[in-house]
């Protein structure tokens, strides 16, 4: 028993004092693993942010669409039939048919002050009249006369416009003609025919429906009919005489659009080989002549205001990446100050693991550093651009140019020193500011599909107006160019 206890004590004491020099490169392996895990975690986080914002966008889109689908439909989509009677006495062919009162030879219907049309059935010599935009023409050459309102110069309507013809029966004893909504061609949405039980809509109702329809439709239109007013007898469903369609130029950008976009792309940052002229000489210098492409991800949302102006805000996560040479400046230096081992255009930098790296080597510190000739600096940035801009429209295409202020947060940075393809020493730029302000100039091209889903290309130039280092010895103002495909919604 005593012996056993003695053995336990002996080995327990030995274990307490036992140390073995850890293998060289062990820390590098650990650090690389930590960096890889962090990178995976960060990537996962950004994907999560991207996914959540996409889901939010989609949810908003569905919500808005659901809301709009609950709105009353335009009567123009309903089956209805109206009769235009050319008798002197107004009559309808059935109970469910609306009637339009006789067309006198001098009855000239005007859709607008300067866009007249002639609906006079007695005007026998009138064939299909080519009239100006938003005009109505009558073809009486055949037995079944056609009454059509067609947009001159805009033969292709958006999917919201109702394509139909008004058919007018040949003049019979009753002189009545049937107009079906299927056969009515409306140049602009909003000119609608009442349903079976109603007469032609009252002007104010039409205006409301036009307004609703305009909310739904984002197709490009230069003019829209906003009301139809009988020139005589406003309340009588059997409308006599002249009509006047009041048109109004409806500019798409006269209303507010909300947009939200996600983008994932690459950013390129500038190099800098101009080292500051410092009295305080350090061991190593690292000018950075090469800059690199790094991924970026961001979200932008904003509002397009009337007159095509827009404001937007969001965030962009990107890295500035610099590669350059690493060199020791003075061969007479025999020691290394790890906390400020050298300097770059961005500031002094330290290294964390020189002691570990040297532990199993036979080099002196300076000799060890002279083995290295390459360095890399990575600044991790998070920016919150706040922009104003102007949107140009061309059909479904939008060209959005913007300029704004961009607060940029410097999240972290890393200095890597080594040889080609291998970095052995790791450190940080010292005294970096946590936030700088810059200028953001952007230009986006976006294509909007029918269901508001939009695609595009985003280009952005961010220029820091402030030096990134707290010390006045350094005056490095980085810029970066971002180019990214983007996906989003324009509501």
């Amino acid at each position: 028993m005593k012996e056993e206890h003695y053995i336990d004590q002996l080995f327990s004491q030995a274990a307490k004092d036992y140390t073995v020099a850890s293998p060289s490169g062990a820390w590098n392996r650990i650090e690389a693993s930590i960096a890889a895990k962090r990178k995976r975690r960060r990537l996962l986080l950004w994907w999560l942010v991207g996914a959540l914002s996409s889901i939010a966008s989609l949810g908003l889109f569905v919500m808005i669409n659901t809301h709009q689908s609950n709105l009353p439909q335009s009567p123009a989509t309903e089956q209805s039939e109206i009769v235009i009677s050319f008798d002197s006495a107004a009559q309808s062919t059935s109970a469910n048919k609306a009637a339009i009162t006789p067309m006198h030879s001098d009855s000239i219907h005007q859709l607008s002050e300067n866009k007249p049309f002639d609906i006079d059935p007695n005007t026998s010599n009138k064939t299909r009249q080519k009239l100006s935009s938003d005009s109505l023409a009558i073809d009486k050459n055949t037995d079944r006369q056609k009454l059509a309102i067609s947009p001159v110069g805009k033969p292709n309507q958006s999917d919201f416009s109702q394509t139909a013809k008004i058919e007018i029966n040949p003049i019979s004893s009753s002189n009545s003609s049937v107009i079906t909504p299927d056969t009515i061609s409306l140049s602009q949405k909003g000119l609608s025919i009442a349903d079976n039980t109603k007469q032609i809509e009252k002007p104010n109702e039409t205006a409301k429906q036009i307004e609703q329809a305009e909310k739904v439709d984002s197709a490009e239109k230069s003019d829209s009919v906003v009301a139809i007013e009988p020139l005589t007898n406003e309340t009588n469903p059997i409308i006599n005489g002249k009509y006047q369609a009041i048109t109004s130029p409806i500019n798409k950008t006269s209303k507010i659009n909300i947009f939200i976009f996600n983008y994932i792309g690459v950013s390129y940052s500038n190099g800098n080989n101009q080292l500051p002229n410092l009295d305080n000489e350090k061991l190593a210098t690292t000018p950075f002549t090469k800059a690199g492409w790094k991924p970026n991800i961001g979200l932008e949302m904003g509002v397009i205001l009337p007159f095509r102006a827009f404001v937007s805000f969001g965030f962009t996560r990107y890295n500035l990446m610099f590669k350059g040479s690493f060199s020791t400046t003075d061969s007479k230096i025999n020691y290394v100050e790890i906390d400020q081992i050298g300097y770059s255009p961005m500031g002094y930098f330290n290294v964390f693991n020189l002691e570990e790296a040297l532990r199993s080597k036979n080099y002196g510190n300076v000799d060890y550093l002279r083995k290295f000739n390459q360095a890399e600096i990575e600044l991790r940035m998070l920016a919150y651009p706040i922009n104003i801009g102007y949107a140009l429209d061309k059909g479904r295409w939008k060209w959005m140019n913007s300029i704004g202020l961009i607060p940029i947060k410097i999240i972290s940075n890393e200095v890597r020193i080594g040889n080609k393809n291998e970095y052995n020493l790791f450190g940080q730029i010292l005294d970096l500011k946590s936030k700088v302000y810059g200028l953001s100039v952007g230009s986006d091209i976006r294509f909007k599909t029918k269901n508001k889903l939009s695609f595009g290309i985003k280009t952005n130039f961010n220029y820091s107006l402030q030096s990134t280092n707290k010390s006045s010895e350094f005056n490095y103002k980085p810029y970066s160019f971002l180019i990214s495909p983007q996906i989003g919604f324009i509501f």
């Binding site: 012996e3 056993e4 053995i7 336990d8 002996l10 080995f11 327990s12 004491q13 030995a14 274990a15 004092d17 036992y18 140390t19 073995v20 020099a21 850890s22 293998p23 062990a26 820390w27 392996r29 650990i30 650090e31 693993s33 930590i34 895990k37 962090r38 964390f352 693991n353 002691e355 570990e356 890393e414 790791f426 940080q428």
Partner: protein, 177 residues
């Protein structure tokens, strides 16, 4: 050099400098632990790597007390996980041959400690683990039986045989000296 508290706080905030300093401070000692819980230098290096990764991931759970003991526990637990896995995969048998692995000598001229730990490293794997847990880490047989998924009797038996082997070898060294 920062104080241990500062380094731990830095590690809790995932600061790279703090992790580097913690490694510099404890890597030699923990590598020693790794060496007498594993069968080869490669395994010891892997355990050192995995141990520090696990340590950095879980350091937020450390609150008070002896940090070195807590840290050592992380490494020992990881070594036991590997032992159980190897045992399931029949990589180690309950009693294998005496290990030929020579523990690395200490840099600090602790020849006695190094020689003694070298003896431990030559024990059959399960004897070694049981002996380490009982004699060095201070666990009881009941705990060891749960940790290694063996009976208490086996634990006692393994410990007894390990002690016997070590006693014989120590006697030989003393005789030689």
């Amino acid at each position: 050099m920062n104080s241990l508290e500062t380094i731990i706080e830095g590690c809790k905030k995932n600061k790279a400098w703090a992790q580097a300093e913690l490694f510099a401070k404890f890597s030699d000692k923990m590598y020693g632990v790794c060496c007498y819980y594993t069968n080869s230098r490669d395994d010891a290096e892997d355990l050192l790597h995995d141990g520090f990764i696990r340590l950095f991931e879980n350091i937020s759970k450390y609150e008070d007390g002896n940090f070195e003991a807590w840290m050592r526990k992380v490494f020992v637990n990881l070594a036991l996980i590997k032992f159980r896995k190897d045992k399931r995969n029949k990589i180690v048998s309950e009693i294998d041959d005496l290990n030929q692995y020579q523990m690395p000598l200490s840099e600090n001229n602790q020849l006695q400690a190094a020689e003694l730990m070298n003896l431990v490293s030559q024990l059959p794997t399960q004897y070694r683990i049981v002996f380490n847990l009982y004699a060095i880490e201070g666990y009881k047989h009941k705990e060891i039986s749960v940790m290694l998924d063996i009976s208490e009797g086996t634990s006692k038996s393994n410990l007894s045989r390990a002690r016997k082997i070590l006693q014989d070898q120590v006697n030989q060294i003393e005789l030689y000296q």
